[in-house]
Protein backbone atom coordinates (compact mmCIF):
# COMPACT_ATOMS: atom_id res chain seq x y z
CA UNK A 1 0.00 0.00 0.00
CA UNK A 2 1.33 3.44 -0.90
CA UNK A 3 1.08 5.88 1.98
CA UNK A 4 0.10 9.46 1.03
CA UNK A 5 2.76 10.81 3.39
CA UNK A 6 3.38 13.95 1.40
CA UNK A 7 -0.24 14.91 1.64
CA UNK A 8 -0.60 14.44 5.38
CA UNK A 9 1.11 17.71 6.28
CA UNK A 10 -1.06 19.78 3.91
CA UNK A 11 -4.14 17.74 4.91
CA UNK A 12 -3.56 18.67 8.54
CA UNK A 13 -3.47 22.35 7.49
CA UNK A 14 -6.60 21.96 5.35
CA UNK A 15 -4.56 23.00 2.32
CA UNK A 16 -5.47 20.09 0.05
CA UNK A 17 -7.85 19.86 -2.87
CA UNK A 18 -11.18 18.03 -2.39
CA UNK A 19 -9.80 15.03 -4.31
CA UNK A 20 -6.68 14.90 -2.17
CA UNK A 21 -8.79 15.24 0.93
CA UNK A 22 -10.98 12.25 0.08
CA UNK A 23 -7.91 10.23 -0.91
CA UNK A 24 -6.23 10.91 2.45
CA UNK A 25 -9.40 10.28 4.41
CA UNK A 26 -10.17 6.98 2.77
CA UNK A 27 -6.57 5.88 3.28
CA UNK A 28 -6.57 6.94 6.93
CA UNK A 29 -9.58 4.73 7.61
CA UNK A 30 -7.59 1.61 6.93
CA UNK A 31 -4.01 2.59 7.76
CA UNK A 32 -2.99 2.75 11.39
CA UNK A 33 0.55 3.76 10.42
CA UNK A 34 -0.68 6.93 8.72
CA UNK A 35 -3.07 7.61 11.58
CA UNK A 36 -0.09 7.55 13.93
CA UNK A 37 1.92 9.67 11.50
CA UNK A 38 -0.82 12.29 11.40
CA UNK A 39 -1.09 12.28 15.17
CA UNK A 40 2.62 12.95 15.49
CA UNK A 41 2.41 15.80 13.00
CA UNK A 42 -0.46 17.30 14.96
CA UNK A 43 1.44 16.97 18.18
CA UNK A 44 4.44 18.68 16.59
CA UNK A 45 2.34 21.53 15.26
CA UNK A 46 0.70 21.96 18.65
CA UNK A 47 4.10 22.07 20.35
CA UNK A 48 5.43 24.68 17.94
CA UNK A 49 2.37 26.87 18.10
CA UNK A 50 2.46 26.89 21.89
CA UNK A 51 6.07 28.05 22.06
CA UNK A 52 6.16 31.15 24.26
CA UNK A 53 6.00 34.42 22.41
CA UNK A 54 9.32 36.23 22.61
CA UNK A 55 9.07 39.92 23.35
CA UNK A 56 11.71 42.45 22.40
CA UNK A 57 13.31 44.43 25.17
CA UNK A 58 12.04 47.94 25.84
CA UNK A 59 15.44 49.24 24.86
CA UNK A 60 15.04 47.73 21.42
CA UNK A 61 11.53 49.03 21.02
CA UNK A 62 12.61 52.51 21.90
CA UNK A 63 15.69 52.25 19.72
CA UNK A 64 13.75 51.09 16.70
CA UNK A 65 11.15 53.77 17.09
CA UNK A 66 13.88 56.38 17.26
CA UNK A 67 15.81 54.92 14.36
CA UNK A 68 14.89 57.28 11.53
CA UNK A 69 15.05 60.99 11.85
CA UNK A 70 11.36 61.86 11.82
CA UNK A 71 11.38 64.23 8.89
CA UNK A 72 13.92 62.29 6.85
CA UNK A 73 11.55 59.39 6.35
CA UNK A 74 8.44 61.39 5.60
CA UNK A 75 7.12 61.95 2.17
CA UNK A 76 6.63 65.62 1.29
CA UNK A 77 2.90 65.24 1.76
CA UNK A 78 3.26 63.85 5.26
CA UNK A 79 5.90 66.43 6.09
CA UNK A 80 3.33 69.07 5.18
CA UNK A 81 0.75 67.37 7.35
CA UNK A 82 3.12 67.13 10.27
CA UNK A 83 4.02 70.79 9.99
CA UNK A 84 0.35 71.63 9.65
CA UNK A 85 -0.44 69.73 12.82
CA UNK A 86 2.32 71.59 14.59
CA UNK A 87 0.90 74.86 13.27
CA UNK A 88 -2.53 74.01 14.56
CA UNK A 89 -1.06 73.37 17.98
CA UNK A 90 0.64 76.73 17.95
CA UNK A 91 -2.52 78.48 16.75
CA UNK A 92 -4.59 76.82 19.45
CA UNK A 93 -2.18 77.60 22.23
CA UNK A 94 -2.08 81.20 21.08
CA UNK A 95 -5.84 81.22 20.79
CA UNK A 96 -6.33 79.90 24.26
CA UNK A 97 -4.04 82.54 25.63
CA UNK A 98 -5.96 85.14 23.65
CA UNK A 99 -9.29 83.89 24.95
CA UNK A 100 -8.10 84.30 28.50
CA UNK A 101 -7.58 87.97 27.92
CA UNK A 102 -9.69 88.81 24.92
CA UNK A 103 -13.33 88.45 23.87
CA UNK A 104 -14.64 84.96 23.27
CA UNK A 105 -15.26 83.89 19.71
CA UNK A 106 -17.27 81.00 18.34
CA UNK A 107 -15.24 77.82 18.28
CA UNK A 108 -16.39 77.15 14.76
CA UNK A 109 -13.98 79.83 13.62
CA UNK A 110 -11.17 77.49 14.43
CA UNK A 111 -10.99 75.81 11.08
CA UNK A 112 -10.66 79.06 9.24
CA UNK A 113 -7.64 79.85 11.30
CA UNK A 114 -5.93 76.61 10.48
CA UNK A 115 -6.43 76.17 6.77
CA UNK A 116 -3.17 74.31 6.12
CA UNK A 117 -4.44 71.05 7.45
CA UNK A 118 -7.94 70.38 6.29
CA UNK A 119 -9.08 68.55 9.33
CA UNK A 120 -12.63 69.26 8.30
CA UNK A 121 -12.31 66.14 6.19
CA UNK A 122 -11.71 64.08 9.31
CA UNK A 123 -14.82 62.36 10.57
CA UNK A 124 -16.42 64.29 13.40
CA UNK A 125 -15.75 62.99 16.84
CA UNK A 126 -18.93 61.88 18.47
CA UNK A 127 -19.80 62.41 22.10
CA UNK A 128 -21.31 58.97 22.11
CA UNK A 129 -17.99 57.29 21.67
CA UNK A 130 -17.27 55.14 24.66
CA UNK A 131 -15.02 56.37 27.43
CA UNK A 132 -12.10 57.77 25.52
CA UNK A 133 -10.13 60.37 27.32
CA UNK A 134 -7.39 62.51 26.03
CA UNK A 135 -5.48 63.84 28.94
CA UNK A 136 -8.05 65.24 31.31
CA UNK A 137 -10.46 66.09 28.56
CA UNK A 138 -13.28 64.04 27.22
CA UNK A 139 -13.50 64.23 23.45
CA UNK A 140 -16.25 66.56 22.41
CA UNK A 141 -17.91 67.67 19.24
CA UNK A 142 -17.54 71.13 17.75
CA UNK A 143 -21.17 71.33 16.81
CA UNK A 144 -22.19 71.91 20.44
CA UNK A 145 -22.05 75.09 22.36
CA UNK A 146 -19.01 74.11 24.35
CA UNK A 147 -16.41 76.74 24.09
CA UNK A 148 -14.06 75.67 26.76
CA UNK A 149 -10.44 75.58 25.84
CA UNK A 150 -10.16 71.90 26.76
CA UNK A 151 -12.43 71.06 23.86
CA UNK A 152 -9.96 72.62 21.53
CA UNK A 153 -7.09 70.85 23.17
CA UNK A 154 -8.89 67.56 22.88
CA UNK A 155 -9.55 68.23 19.23
CA UNK A 156 -5.94 69.09 18.62
CA UNK A 157 -4.83 65.98 20.44
CA UNK A 158 -7.26 64.02 18.37
CA UNK A 159 -5.83 65.40 15.17
CA UNK A 160 -2.33 64.67 16.30
CA UNK A 161 -3.32 61.24 17.36
CA UNK A 162 -4.80 60.52 13.96
CA UNK A 163 -1.56 61.41 12.28
CA UNK A 164 0.50 59.56 14.82
CA UNK A 165 -1.66 56.49 14.53
CA UNK A 166 -1.11 56.36 10.80
CA UNK A 167 2.59 56.33 11.36
CA UNK A 168 2.41 53.94 14.24
CA UNK A 169 1.08 51.25 11.91
CA UNK A 170 4.52 51.14 10.48
CA UNK A 171 6.22 51.24 13.83
CA UNK A 172 3.97 48.50 15.10
CA UNK A 173 5.77 46.03 12.95
CA UNK A 174 8.40 45.92 15.62
CA UNK A 175 6.50 43.20 17.38
CA UNK A 176 2.88 43.66 16.65
CA UNK A 177 2.58 44.86 20.20
CA UNK A 178 2.42 48.54 19.41
CA UNK A 179 -1.00 47.96 18.05
CA UNK A 180 -2.73 49.37 21.06
CA UNK A 181 -2.23 52.69 19.32
CA UNK A 182 -4.44 51.45 16.58
CA UNK A 183 -7.07 50.41 19.03
CA UNK A 184 -7.32 53.93 20.29
CA UNK A 185 -7.09 55.32 16.81
CA UNK A 186 -9.67 52.98 15.42
CA UNK A 187 -12.16 53.45 18.16
CA UNK A 188 -11.98 57.17 17.70
CA UNK A 189 -12.42 56.86 13.98
CA UNK A 190 -15.66 54.94 14.48
CA UNK A 191 -14.18 51.82 12.99
CA UNK A 192 -16.88 49.95 11.11
CA UNK A 193 -18.22 46.88 12.82
CA UNK A 194 -16.33 43.77 11.97
CA UNK A 195 -13.13 45.50 11.04
CA UNK A 196 -10.38 44.16 13.28
CA UNK A 197 -8.90 46.57 15.79
CA UNK A 198 -5.42 45.79 14.61
CA UNK A 199 -2.71 47.79 13.12
CA UNK A 200 -1.05 45.89 10.35
CA UNK A 201 -3.89 44.51 8.31
CA UNK A 202 -5.90 47.68 8.33
CA UNK A 203 -3.34 49.69 6.46
CA UNK A 204 -4.31 51.02 3.11
CA UNK A 205 -2.26 52.87 0.58
CA UNK A 206 -4.48 55.90 0.96
CA UNK A 207 -3.12 56.58 4.40
CA UNK A 208 0.32 58.07 4.76
CA UNK A 209 2.50 55.37 6.23
CA UNK A 210 4.84 57.52 8.19
CA UNK A 211 4.77 59.24 11.46
CA UNK A 212 6.19 62.42 12.85
CA UNK A 213 7.67 61.01 16.02
CA UNK A 214 7.27 64.18 17.93
CA UNK A 215 3.57 63.35 18.06
CA UNK A 216 3.96 59.87 19.39
CA UNK A 217 4.18 60.61 23.11
CA UNK A 218 0.86 62.41 22.89
CA UNK A 219 -0.70 59.41 21.27
CA UNK A 220 0.71 57.15 23.94
CA UNK A 221 -0.58 59.35 26.73
CA UNK A 222 -4.03 59.04 25.31
CA UNK A 223 -3.79 55.33 24.82
CA UNK A 224 -2.49 54.59 28.25
CA UNK A 225 -5.71 55.86 29.72
CA UNK A 226 -7.88 53.59 27.70
CA UNK A 227 -9.74 50.63 29.13
CA UNK A 228 -11.26 48.09 26.81
CA UNK A 229 -13.93 45.58 27.70
CA UNK A 230 -15.64 42.72 25.93
CA UNK A 231 -18.74 41.10 27.34
CA UNK A 232 -20.98 38.26 26.36
CA UNK A 233 -22.58 34.99 27.26
CA UNK A 234 -20.98 31.62 27.19
CA UNK A 235 -21.89 28.09 28.07
CA UNK A 236 -20.04 25.09 29.34
CA UNK A 237 -17.20 27.07 30.89
CA UNK A 238 -16.50 26.96 34.57
CA UNK A 239 -16.61 30.15 36.57
CA UNK A 240 -13.15 31.57 37.10
CA UNK A 241 -11.10 34.71 36.82
CA UNK A 242 -7.65 34.74 35.38
CA UNK A 243 -5.10 36.93 33.76
CA UNK A 244 -4.51 36.51 30.05
CA UNK A 245 -0.80 36.86 29.57
CA UNK A 246 -0.24 36.86 25.84
CA UNK A 247 -1.83 36.92 22.43
CA UNK A 248 -1.97 33.15 22.13
CA UNK A 249 -3.89 32.79 25.36
CA UNK A 250 -6.26 35.51 24.22
CA UNK A 251 -6.67 33.77 20.88
CA UNK A 252 -7.57 30.50 22.61
CA UNK A 253 -10.05 32.27 24.84
CA UNK A 254 -11.56 34.08 21.85
CA UNK A 255 -12.12 30.75 20.16
CA UNK A 256 -13.50 29.11 23.30
CA UNK A 257 -15.95 31.96 23.73
CA UNK A 258 -16.87 31.67 20.05
CA UNK A 259 -16.47 35.38 19.54
CA UNK A 260 -17.03 36.35 15.96
CA UNK A 261 -15.32 39.71 16.03
CA UNK A 262 -11.67 39.80 15.11
CA UNK A 263 -9.09 39.29 17.81
CA UNK A 264 -7.98 42.65 19.20
CA UNK A 265 -4.30 43.42 19.22
CA UNK A 266 -3.18 44.29 22.71
CA UNK A 267 0.15 45.51 23.94
CA UNK A 268 0.51 43.00 26.77
CA UNK A 269 3.53 44.61 28.40
CA UNK A 270 1.47 47.79 28.74
CA UNK A 271 -1.95 46.33 29.38
CA UNK A 272 -3.19 43.87 31.95
CA UNK A 273 -5.87 41.64 30.50
CA UNK A 274 -8.21 39.72 32.78
CA UNK A 275 -10.95 37.33 31.82
CA UNK A 276 -13.76 36.51 34.17
CA UNK A 277 -16.29 33.78 33.57
CA UNK A 278 -19.12 34.38 35.96
CA UNK A 279 -21.44 31.82 37.54
CA UNK A 280 -24.37 33.21 35.54
CA UNK A 281 -22.57 32.18 32.31
CA UNK A 282 -21.63 35.70 31.35
CA UNK A 283 -18.09 36.74 30.83
CA UNK A 284 -16.06 39.90 30.93
CA UNK A 285 -12.68 40.44 29.33
CA UNK A 286 -10.99 43.63 30.43
CA UNK A 287 -7.79 45.23 29.21
CA UNK A 288 -6.48 48.04 31.36
CA UNK A 289 -3.20 49.85 31.56
CA UNK A 290 -0.72 48.32 33.94
CA UNK A 291 0.28 50.46 36.88
Amino acid sequence: MRHPEELLSAYMDKEVSPQEKSLVESHLKSCSECQRHLKELESLRQALSSLPLKEPSWELRTKVLKEPSPLSILSPWVKGLALAAASVTVVLVAREQFQKIGPAEPVSGLRQEAPIADFASSPPVSKEMPGILLGEHKIADYSGKERRSEVQEARTSMEQLQIAAQGSKMAAGISGREEASETAYDSMQSRPKGEPPRLMGALSAKRPAAMPQVLRPLAQQAIQREILEWKGKTSGMKAEKKEIKNRKELQRLWKALKRKDPLPEIDFPLYKVTAEIKSDSTYLIRAEPRD
Binding site: S43, L44, L48, L60, P68, M170, G176, M200
Partner: protein
Amino acid sequence: MVYNLAYRLCGNPSDAEDIVQDTFVKVFKSLERFRSESDLSTWIYRIAVNTWKNRVRSEKRRGLWKMFSLEGLSQDEEKRAREIPADEPAMGSRLEEQEKEGVLQKALLELDAEERTILVLRDVEEKSYEEIAKALELPLGTVKSKLFRARESLRKKLKPILERGF
Protein backbone atom coordinates in the same frame (compact mmCIF):
# COMPACT_ATOMS: atom_id res chain seq x y z
CA MET B 1 5.79 39.68 15.60
CA VAL B 2 9.10 40.42 13.88
CA TYR B 3 11.11 39.85 17.02
CA ASN B 4 9.46 36.51 17.69
CA LEU B 5 10.11 35.42 14.11
CA ALA B 6 13.73 36.57 14.29
CA TYR B 7 14.24 34.83 17.61
CA ARG B 8 12.91 31.54 16.35
CA LEU B 9 15.01 31.78 13.21
CA CYS B 10 18.32 32.57 14.86
CA GLY B 11 17.73 31.13 18.32
CA ASN B 12 19.15 33.85 20.50
CA PRO B 13 17.97 37.25 21.73
CA SER B 14 20.96 39.38 20.78
CA ASP B 15 20.98 38.29 17.12
CA ALA B 16 17.19 38.62 17.06
CA GLU B 17 17.47 42.22 18.28
CA ASP B 18 20.04 43.01 15.61
CA ILE B 19 17.82 41.51 12.94
CA VAL B 20 14.80 43.50 14.12
CA GLN B 21 16.78 46.71 14.17
CA ASP B 22 18.24 46.13 10.70
CA THR B 23 14.80 45.16 9.43
CA PHE B 24 13.26 48.40 10.59
CA VAL B 25 16.02 50.54 9.26
CA LYS B 26 15.26 48.96 5.88
CA VAL B 27 11.52 49.30 6.37
CA PHE B 28 11.82 53.00 7.17
CA LYS B 29 14.18 53.60 4.30
CA SER B 30 12.14 51.82 1.68
CA LEU B 31 8.70 52.71 2.90
CA GLU B 32 8.00 54.81 -0.15
CA ARG B 33 8.52 51.74 -2.32
CA PHE B 34 5.92 49.75 -0.42
CA ARG B 35 2.98 48.99 -2.65
CA SER B 36 -0.43 48.34 -1.32
CA GLU B 37 -0.94 45.16 -3.34
CA SER B 38 0.93 43.23 -0.69
CA ASP B 39 -0.01 43.34 2.93
CA LEU B 40 2.30 45.45 5.06
CA SER B 41 2.98 42.61 7.49
CA THR B 42 3.89 40.27 4.61
CA TRP B 43 6.27 42.90 3.29
CA ILE B 44 7.91 43.34 6.68
CA TYR B 45 8.20 39.55 7.11
CA ARG B 46 9.97 39.40 3.76
CA ILE B 47 12.44 42.09 4.77
CA ALA B 48 13.05 40.40 8.12
CA VAL B 49 13.69 37.00 6.57
CA ASN B 50 16.01 38.48 3.94
CA THR B 51 17.84 40.44 6.62
CA TRP B 52 18.37 37.24 8.57
CA LYS B 53 19.51 35.30 5.49
CA ASN B 54 21.95 38.03 4.47
CA ARG B 55 23.30 38.12 7.96
CA VAL B 56 23.79 34.36 8.00
CA ARG B 57 25.55 34.54 4.64
CA SER B 58 27.89 37.34 5.54
CA GLU B 59 28.70 35.95 8.96
CA LYS B 60 29.24 32.49 7.52
CA ARG B 61 31.76 34.00 5.15
CA ARG B 62 33.52 35.50 8.11
CA GLY B 63 33.16 32.26 10.04
CA LEU B 64 31.17 33.90 12.78
CA TRP B 65 27.73 32.45 12.40
CA LYS B 66 26.89 29.79 14.90
CA MET B 67 23.39 28.95 13.95
CA PHE B 68 24.01 25.28 13.32
CA SER B 69 25.66 24.67 16.63
CA LEU B 70 24.48 24.74 20.17
CA GLU B 71 26.32 28.00 20.63
CA GLY B 72 23.55 29.63 18.67
CA LEU B 73 21.24 29.09 21.58
CA SER B 74 21.11 31.33 24.56
CA GLN B 75 23.02 29.99 27.53
CA ASP B 76 20.01 28.64 29.33
CA GLU B 77 18.63 26.95 26.30
CA GLU B 78 22.04 25.55 25.47
CA LYS B 79 22.24 24.01 28.91
CA ARG B 80 18.78 22.55 28.60
CA ALA B 81 19.41 21.25 25.12
CA ARG B 82 22.56 19.49 26.31
CA GLU B 83 20.79 17.98 29.23
CA ILE B 84 17.92 16.73 27.11
CA PRO B 85 18.95 15.86 23.59
CA ALA B 86 15.98 15.47 21.28
CA ASP B 87 16.57 11.76 20.80
CA GLU B 88 17.11 11.04 24.47
CA PRO B 89 14.21 12.58 26.31
CA ALA B 90 14.52 13.07 30.01
CA MET B 91 13.15 10.48 32.34
CA GLY B 92 9.75 11.31 33.63
CA SER B 93 6.40 11.66 32.01
CA ARG B 94 6.26 15.06 30.30
CA LEU B 95 8.89 17.60 29.49
CA GLU B 96 8.62 20.81 31.38
CA GLU B 97 7.72 23.87 29.37
CA GLN B 98 11.20 25.33 29.36
CA GLU B 99 12.80 22.05 28.48
CA LYS B 100 10.31 21.61 25.69
CA GLU B 101 11.16 25.02 24.32
CA GLY B 102 14.86 24.25 24.42
CA VAL B 103 14.40 20.96 22.59
CA LEU B 104 12.16 22.46 19.94
CA GLN B 105 14.41 25.45 19.39
CA LYS B 106 17.42 23.21 19.01
CA ALA B 107 15.61 21.03 16.50
CA LEU B 108 14.50 24.13 14.58
CA LEU B 109 18.06 25.39 14.37
CA GLU B 110 19.14 22.14 12.77
CA LEU B 111 16.78 22.63 9.85
CA ASP B 112 17.87 24.12 6.57
CA ALA B 113 17.29 27.91 6.49
CA GLU B 114 14.39 27.92 4.06
CA GLU B 115 12.60 25.00 5.68
CA ARG B 116 13.04 26.59 9.08
CA THR B 117 11.61 29.89 7.85
CA ILE B 118 8.57 28.21 6.34
CA LEU B 119 7.94 26.07 9.40
CA VAL B 120 8.26 29.03 11.77
CA LEU B 121 5.97 31.19 9.64
CA ARG B 122 3.41 28.41 9.50
CA ASP B 123 3.40 26.82 12.94
CA VAL B 124 4.74 29.59 15.14
CA GLU B 125 3.45 32.70 13.38
CA GLU B 126 0.39 30.84 12.07
CA LYS B 127 0.50 32.25 8.56
CA SER B 128 -1.39 30.64 5.70
CA TYR B 129 0.41 28.90 2.83
CA GLU B 130 -0.52 31.80 0.61
CA GLU B 131 0.87 34.40 2.98
CA ILE B 132 4.10 32.42 3.31
CA ALA B 133 4.38 32.10 -0.46
CA LYS B 134 3.93 35.86 -0.81
CA ALA B 135 6.34 36.74 1.98
CA LEU B 136 9.08 34.48 0.67
CA GLU B 137 8.23 34.95 -3.01
CA LEU B 138 7.99 31.22 -3.54
CA PRO B 139 5.46 29.16 -5.49
CA LEU B 140 2.72 27.64 -3.35
CA GLY B 141 3.85 24.12 -4.28
CA THR B 142 7.34 24.82 -2.99
CA VAL B 143 5.97 26.09 0.30
CA LYS B 144 3.92 22.91 0.62
CA SER B 145 6.78 20.54 -0.14
CA LYS B 146 9.35 22.35 1.99
CA LEU B 147 6.93 22.49 4.87
CA PHE B 148 6.37 18.76 4.50
CA ARG B 149 10.14 18.13 4.54
CA ALA B 150 10.67 20.39 7.54
CA ARG B 151 7.95 18.67 9.51
CA GLU B 152 9.19 15.22 8.57
CA SER B 153 12.68 16.11 9.63
CA LEU B 154 11.49 17.42 12.98
CA ARG B 155 9.10 14.52 13.45
CA LYS B 156 11.88 11.99 12.99
CA LYS B 157 14.19 13.92 15.26
CA LEU B 158 11.61 14.27 18.00
CA LYS B 159 9.85 10.93 17.48
CA PRO B 160 10.44 9.56 20.99
CA ILE B 161 8.94 12.68 22.51
CA LEU B 162 6.08 12.97 20.05
CA GLU B 163 5.05 9.37 20.63
CA ARG B 164 4.61 10.14 24.31
CA GLY B 165 2.88 13.41 23.53
CA PHE B 166 4.65 16.72 23.96
